[in-house]
């Protein structure tokens, strides 16, 4: 207190003008809330937490100024502001740590924030509501630097509803996604890049969050991609960023690698040896394009992409009811096989009702329980956006409000999802902020009239070509499936503050998708034909650290069901899935709950939650240990019915067996070095050891990274 008193005396003598200036008119919503945000008071770790902290609760990042005003000025009989003796307000004593404060010192006594808060209280701590934020801009929002250590000063400008334009850099929170890559002076806005690469800084002011992208080349030497192979617009965009980052591209993949990659990507299976040999012998210059078209038109494509979309739609059996899931799965495969446009699929899913045993898409509303869960599911599926954050508070990193979340949920409140999915009026969703029924709302757009057909209106809005999310969300997922990483990651978290690595490419892919009638095969074909897709997975010394700019192909683990089918194909021992007919392939299963110890070991997604955020899969240590030591491989390799056992019985030579398994497992012939290695191995053993060595050889094939990954 003494410190504070002395300061105030000095302030009154030496700095009257600044204090008086702050005292002119302080608006709570647009002057005080930014101070609270900048000081960290309303962050999730402090008073912005769901339950507040220290019996002081603020809305997260000031999303609800009315609530914050009441919390500060009215709660506990106005204990936090002292209108008689403003400097003695708890609101000042705590953050200056004049009183002990769990959050430490957040404001200094000579800080402009202190002066502003003091002036506001001295003026009566009124809310005023003089203006609203109309627009907020950061300059520059995209900056390419020459080298590490370069600096730029960011300037934040706010324009308010009363046309007042202000520089608000001091009150803007600038947060690097990686603070080891960018350092920011919070008062001046000066940013210093500390590492090469592409870095994102999030600027927050009031309810706006804006991304700032910094790019620092990886090397000084410029790279010219003018002569690089390019087949369509994808390559233009990928090369542009590689040139900016000065990252060289790896050469194209060889035919065998390309064949294996594209066959896995489009059909979820390994190419048959005869197909591999034919492709490798094919001398036509357009053989890759022909192969892509052939795969896109195959039944295997329909199976695999039904599997991919079944995961996305979380198709699974309900308790004591498998018929619905089977009907749903069958319907989905029909849509894939008949190349139904994706917008039509979405519309069918959103609007279908009826008997889920006979009407496949009606099962959509049985996927999750209740209107709120449906709102989350629909937003993540069709908008690629995590609306769920707006359940408890306005989304802290996006523009979604609580009204959007509960308004979307209200659209589904009338849906009754038993075996027969029906609409029964009278359902409602209580808005936690108001305590009354939420009004149906197209998120981010408009409230619906009470009599509006909510689901139909929603379906129309989602699938309109002007929807900013729908096309991007699906092409980003298709891109990830083909390229190993989404242009935006995670793929269900599209928002302005999580910008795409190649924003123009994402736009172009979405526009192209819409232009081609939401045709999934078209976009897959476009990606598959790009030079970026056919790049080698082998990195160069200069691009070895690149994991997102597509200078080389990204190696990724095979999906559990794909790996299971591949193991069965190579060993020649099929897996049994519950009571499904013998020979059923894992990717064709309609229900992830069908009994299969093998798929459980390999980490299949049970589709109870989103499979996109699942951290398990075939890349984990348990799967690796099972592959190395478990029965999954060993029993199959040693089985009398196995492909290897049959070859041995048929007295096929070791050399031929080796060649066949290389083609089966790796879609290529052994290299000269590999042939020599195995020749030496087999030449150094006695005949009675041959079977063991052959089994070891197959085991080595199936546990190799080359086999368990798509590369």
């Amino acid at each position: 207190m003494l410190r504070l008193t002395i300061f105030l005396i000095l302030l009154s003598v030496f700095a009257p003008s600044s204090y008086a200036g702050e005292a002119a008119a302080v608006d709570f919503d647009t002057d005080i809330v930014p101070v609270l945000t900048k000081s960290g008071c309303n962050s999730g770790a402090c008073h912005g937490a769901a339950a507040g902290r220290g019996e002081f609760h603020l809305s997260l990042y000031g999303s609800n100024p009315a609530f914050d005003y009441d919390s500060i000025v009215h709660r506990f009989k106005g204990r936090r502001v002292n209108l008689v003796d403003p400097e003695n307000s708890l609101l000042l004593l705590k953050p200056t740590e004049s009183l002990i404060h769990g959050g430490g010192a957040r404001i200094e006594l000579d800080d402009p924030a202190f002066n502003l808060l003091t002036a506001w209280i001295a003026k009566g701590a009124q809310r005023l509501q003089q203006r609203k934020l109309k627009s907020f801009e950061i300059s520059p929002s995209h900056q390419v630097f020459e080298s590490v250590g370069d600096k730029v000063t960011l300037q934040a400008t706010a324009i308010f509803s009363n046309e007042d334009e202000r520089t608000v850099t001091r009150w803007t929170v600038l947060t690097p996604e990686d603070d080891t890559a960018v350092q920011i002076d919070s008062e001046t806005g000066e940013a210093t890049v500390l590492r090469s690469g592409r870095h994102v800084v999030i600027a927050r002011y009031l309810d706006r969050v804006v991304p700032i992208v910094f790019i620092v080349p990886l090397q000084a030497r410029s790279i010219d991609f003018v002569d690089g192979p390019r087949t369509n617009f994808i390559d233009d965009h990928v090369y542009d960023l590689l040139a900016t980052l000065k990252i060289p591209a790896s050469p194209g993949a060889d035919d065998a690698t390309f064949l294996r990659r594209i066959t896995l990507n489009l059909t979820g299976r390994l190419p048959a040896p005869r197909v591999a040999l034919a492709f490798l012998d094919d001398k036509r210059t357009n053989k890759r394009q022909l192969l892509i078209d052939e795969l896109l038109n195959s039944e295997e494509f329909n199976d695999y992409w039904t599997y991919e979309f079944a995961k996305l739609l979380r198709i699974r059996s309900q308790p004591l009811d498998k018929i619905g899931a089977r009907t749903y799965h069958r319907w989905l495969r029909e849509q894939i096989a008949s190349a139904t446009p994706y917008d039509e699929i979405a519309e069918d899913l959103l609007t279908s009702i009826g008997d889920s045993h006979t009407n496949g898409p009606a099962n959509f509303y049985r996927t999750v329980g209740g209107p709120r869960a449906l709102a989350e599911f629909v937003s993540e599926l069709f908008l690629g956006s995590r609306l769920r954050c707006a359940n408890c508070h306005d989304h802290p990193l996006d523009h979604w409000k609580q009204d959007d979340y509960h308004g979307l949920a209200a659209i589904f409140a009338d849906v009754k999802a038993g075996r027969v999915v029906s609409i029964q009026s009278g359902g409602e969703v209580i808005h936690p902020r108001t305590g009354i029924a939420a009004v149906k709302r197209i998120p981010g757009e408009r409230f619906l009239n009470d009599d509006a057909q909510g689901r139909e209106s929603l379906a129309e809005w989602i699938t309109t070509q002007h929807n900013p999310y729908f096309a991007k969300a699906i092409v980003n997922r298709l891109w990830k499936n083909m390229m190993g990483r989404g242009l935006i990651e995670p793929t269900d978290d599209l928002r302005s503050t999580n910008p795409a690595t190649h924003p123009q490419l994402l736009e172009a892919l979405a526009e192209d998708f819409i232009k081609h009638d939401y045709n999934l095969r078209h976009t897959l074909r476009t990606i598959a034909n790009s030079a970026a897709y056919s790049r080698s997975e082998k990195s160069l010394p200069e691009n070895a650290t690149d994991d997102r700019f597509y200078s080389h192909s990204i190696v990724r683990p095979l999906e559990p069901e794909v790996l299971a089918d591949a193991i069965a194909d190579v060993t020649g021992v099929a897996m049994q899935f519950g009571e499904e007919p013998a020979g059923t392939r894992a990717i064709t299963l309609f229900d992830p709950k069908i009994s299969s110890p093998e798929l459980d070991i390999l980490g299949r997604c049970l589709r109870e939650e989103s499979c996109e955020s699942q951290s398990t899969g075939t890349a984990g240590l348990p799967v690796l240990l099972h592959l190395l030591n478990g029965k999954l491989l060993n029993e199959r390799i040693q089985s009398p019915e196995s492909r290897l056992s049959r070859k041995i019985k048929e007295n096929v030579s070791s050399e031929k067996i080796i060649r066949e398994f290389y083609l089966l497992a790796l879609s290529r012939l052994p290299t000269e070095g590999e042939q020599q290695f195995w020749a030496k191995e087999f030449g150094s053993i006695q005949e009675k050891q041959r079977v063991d060595l052959l089994q070891d050889f197959v085991w080595a094939m199936l546990t190799s990274q080359e086999f368990v990954t798509n590369h």
């Binding site: 009154s12 204990r79 004049s98």
Partner: protein, 331 residues
Amino acid sequence: MNKAPHSQSFAWANSCRLGLVPSLFIIVQFQFLFFPSAIDAAQPPITSITFSPDGNSVFAASQAGVAIYDWPGLTQQGKLELNFANIHDIQFSPDAQRLAIAGGDPGETGIVNVLNWQSRDTISLIRQHNDTVYSIAWMNDNQRIVSVSLDRQVLLYDHSSERTVQEFSGHSKGVTAVCLLADDSVLITAGVDQSLRVWELSTSKMIRTLNNHTAPVHDLQLRPNQDGLPMVASVSDDRTLRFWQPTIGRMVRFVKLDSIPLAIAWHPEKPIVAATTSSGIISIIDAETAEVLKQIKTDQQWLYALAVSPDGKWIVVQGANGLRRYRFSTE
């Protein structure tokens, strides 16, 4: 509790808080000199209102201290000279000889000042709390006072000796309201932890927790002059006013209001309560049916305090300039 342990200056400030007044006065004077706009402050909220024992005056407490108004004119007649501000409760002793004034500095000190009502001299100044005292209650012996504070403590002391006689531990968050049954056998407290706690005074033991409220409780008042089981009314952020029979642990009935009820006062004779709210409406509620009988719109919002005149005809609340009265009727 809640003290900066590392700073000698803070210790000085706490122990010499009264000594700060002159320097703060200087600041105020400087503000007059340099910042004329800065002193255009709003009226601080009134946090407690009570009638004098003779019924001729009304006392209103706030961050500015205690102002005295005549009754029924409600013209400010003066101000009590106190050594502290942030007053939250004012209560006359049962024998009307003493006036206890409670408050203190948020996060620092809770103070109860007992004055001789005739001479206005301070009899005792009790600083047992580490946060503002929100509510007090006299015992019938005119010597002991119970105080509750946001420091979570419920303390009973002999005001003459300024010593704590009993402590009641149980609230997990700040305590905002207290009342005693007419025979002083049972104490009831309520607070931010959403609960009412019932304490046996003879043993200091908590005998009941009443936890129907779903948000912090702001006020608690015992129905006066009642036969049969004692009844108290409570109001909470959950927008409910609840009626309880604390000795048997029963919530009798409740009513949900349109805005947050902040304070309550019983009619001296009838089973009716008046509740002030955050929207500035005074709701008149029948305690036997929980029916809202009447709503009175005032010219203020966030009415933290009210008092009912001894004859039961008027309700006094904060007005645009000082206090304002409204007729306490159900019609």
